[in-house]
């Protein structure tokens, strides 16, 4: 994603939204299997904690993208139908041009193909794609998953 940002940052706006942890470490558990990973992060409980975790993340991944922090009620998570990670490309009319999610949710190569098409078409999806209203949001924030210790 960082490479995509470097290549297109002049023509495309990029935002990295740091969301709630998909696989938070168990609280107070040290030396467990997951604690061996350098990016061990527990479930963040406040926006400030999430901002610190986001800082660790961009420091670790050497990201220079502008960073936003998802709200504690996970508005972005719900709006983009998150599942572990997600990428969305939105055209200049505010329409979804690309969406992927899941463990391989970033899919920068696929996103790049769509970005190229948009840039060749003044930033807009083709007229043949019908405009539809946003699908209904999930009723509520899904219950936080039990921290994993894998």
């Amino acid at each position: 994603m960082q490479a995509l940002y470097e290549a297109y940052k002049d023509k495309v706006a990029f935002l990295f939204v740091y969301t709630r942890e998909a696989h938070p470490a168990r609280e107070g558990k040290e030396g467990g299997a997951r604690a061996r990973t350098p990016n061990e992060v527990g479930a963040t409980k406040t926006l400030q904690e999430r901002a610190l975790a986001a800082t660790d993340c961009i420091r670790g991944l050497k990201f220079t993208l502008p960073v936003l922090i998802d709200t504690m009620d996970s508005q972005a998570w719900n709006a983009f139908r998150m599942h572990q990670a997600a990428t969305a490309v939105i055209d200049t009319d505010g329409r979804i041009a690309f969406h992927s999610r899941g463990p391989g949710g970033a899919q920068p190569q696929e996103a790049e193909k769509v970005l190229k098409q948009l840039l060749a078409n003044q930033g807009k999806l083709g007229a043949d794609v019908p405009l539809s209203e946003p699908a209904a949001e999930p009723a509520a924030e899904p219950p936080a998953r039990r921290p994993t210790t894998r």
Partner: protein, 98 residues
């Protein structure tokens, strides 16, 4: 003793069909690749062409310490996605560290 064995057998007769029904139901529900069997149902993915939902989120303000370490803090500035996308196409990447 015999009475107890019969009672256990009766229980087994009830539990086995119920468990089979649950397993069949789980198998019948279509799942996205990567979803865990029996896991929570995910909402459908966003459709191409659909109007994107607008959210307003706080920005992470970044500064560099004297030793070059990146320091992040929650900014009071908020960014509304709909204020970004009319100017340029917008690529949003959402993730956490873990």
């Amino acid at each position: 003793m015999l009475h107890r064995v019969r009672r256990l057998e009766r229980r087994r007769l009830l539990v086995l069909p119920a468990a089979t029904l649950v397993l069949l139901q789980m198998a019948a529900v279509p799942r996205e690749p990567g979803a865990r069997p029996g896991g929570r149902q995910m909402p459908p993915p966003l459709a191409i062409g659909q109007k994107a939902s607008d959210v307003e989120l706080p920005r992470l303000a970044l500064t560099k310490a004297k030793d070059g370490t990146l320091l992040g803090a929650l900014s009071s500035e908020k960014v509304k996605l709909s204020s970004v996308w009319p100017k340029k196409p917008l690529c949003v990447f959402l993730s956490s560290y873990t």
